[in-house]
């Protein structure tokens, strides 16, 4: 998108794209992952998704009403924020958790900066780390897949962190999403379908997702538990929120660098931070923290990777 600003001779054809259209198509590309999540975790997952989305849209509308701004709840951005937040929650959380999270995401993550296109941090992730810091016990109890009662189980990454073997999941299980985890992050297949669609529509470029995932894979392979170059990199790539984060959250236009060079730095930074938190941090998963930290760094990265203006020193 952004790198396509080009100067050319007439005739200039205008492509019929608007922010709102892109937002809704991103929502569409996330649909398979949501459907997979509901199939895997049951109707309570659907409840969380609906609560998250509805309260995000409502929060946006109410804040815009109170601050006397134009009401733009139908541009899809609040919908997307609520959806991504819900995808980052476990399936069996109390009903108020997605509501509070969405309110925080929209208010503090987005509206205090002036609304759409001006936020520094990814709003959904702001909501998620807020919930994680506030009510950790709900955010870290995951339910067993394909078993619609609320039987808890550990995520593969949490099991790895505690040093025990998790219940014999094959890579194929992980790929299909048959594991404990957040609603939208488990089914890699569905996420990749959505990501392919975004690539096909050229809404995202390969720079951030590829460098991000490759860095995590390489780093976790090098620093394995049984010495150098012994890590289970495939497990690290297929579990946690890496795929969801790399394709759908780190690539957010507003909060990532503008140039390709900056995006590569951004992706590598996200990857390093994620891997460091996973391997040595206190939390089993670091995707959301890593992306937020790099969001904070994005303006600085932009500043130092800006294309030179011709003739300017």
């Amino acid at each position: 998108m952004k790198d396509k600003l080009s100067v050319g001779t007439s005739p200039h054809l205008h492509k019929d794209e608007s922010v709102s259209r892109i937002m809704w198509l991103v929502v569409l590309s996330l649909a398979p992952a949501g459907i997979a999540g509901v199939l895997i975790f049951g109707l309570s997952a659907l409840r969380v998704i609906i609560l998250g989305v509805v309260s995000a849209v409502f929060s946006e509308g109410i804040i815009q009403l109170l601050t006397k701004k134009r009401i733009t709840v139908l541009d899809g951005s609040a919908f997307l924020t609520g959806l991504l937040l819900a995808y980052n929650l476990p399936a069996h959380v109390p009903f108020w958790l997605p509501i509070v999270g969405s309110l925080f995401a929209v208010a503090i993550g987005k509206q205090v900066f002036g609304g759409l296109g001006q936020n520094i941090f990814n709003p959904a992730l702001v909501g998620r780390v807020f919930l994680m810091a506030s009510w950790p016990k709900y955010m870290t109890s995951f339910t067993r897949p394909m078993n619609y009662d609320a039987i808890t189980c550990a995520t593969p990454l949490a099991a790895l962190k505690e040093g025990r073997a998790f219940e014999n999941l094959s890579s194929w299980d992980l790929f299909l999403g048959l594991r404990g985890g957040c609603i939208g992050e488990v089914c890699i297949l569905a996420l990749l379908l959505g990501a392919l669609f975004l690539f096909y529509k050229k809404y995202i470029s390969w720079h951030i997702p590829l460098t991000y995932i490759a860095t995590v894979g390489l780093f976790t392979y090098i620093f394995g538990q049984q010495g150098l170059f012994s890590g289970d990199w495939l497990l690290h790539v297929l579990t946690g929120g890496l795929i969801l984060g790399a394709f759908f959250m780190a690539t957010d236009y507003v909060t990532s660098p503008l140039t390709y060079k900056g995006q590569v730095i951004f992706g590598i930074g996200c990857g390093l931070l994620t891997a460091i938190i996973r391997l040595w941090g206190g939390y089993p998963e670091g995707v959301s923290y890593a992306i937020l930290m790099m969001n904070a760094a994005a303006p600085i990265i932009d500043r130092f990777t800006k294309n030179r203006v011709y003739g300017k020193r």
Partner: protein
Amino acid sequence: MSASQFLTIFISAVFIYNVILSRFLGLCSFVAISKETKPALSMSLAVMFVTTMSSIITWFIYRFLLIPFDLTYLRTISFILVIATFVQFVEMVVRKTNPAMYRLFGIYLPLITVNCAVMGVAVLNSDMFFINGRALPGSFWYSAFQGVCAGLGYALAMLLMSGIRERLDLCNIPESLKDFPLAFIIASIMSLSFLGFNGFKF
């Protein structure tokens, strides 16, 4: 004294207990000077230099003056005087010998005299690396290194914040949140994201 100890000090001083975002030291200068990247960087350089040097100096004072003569209750007053004198002295030297450097970061030195970050790190060092009036083995290196890392943490928060605030110039932020309030909210989100390093064990 081992490499992992130093790494732990590094991670905790830069990220987990970041001087600004977690210990709130140097907050005034953080919100006041982080509007643009260049002054923010100069200020960070000055703070880094002063935290390092004052960590070293106060270690000597604490170890060889206050403890042997049983004067630890004079810690606050002696530290602040030594730091203030040192900063004044450096300012004078820099101004006389190197005007270019003075313009770059010397003008920020007077502000640092009463910067809580410098004093805070000195007090923290004497709390962390001395137990019951005895210096821990390697405490000198730990103190000096913690001084460097606290400065680095300050510089990191400053750099990120100034980049963000430069970008915010282009945004239509709600009138009542402009400047200070928004700066604090951004700092809050940064502090949230640094929580990711909590419980770091190498």
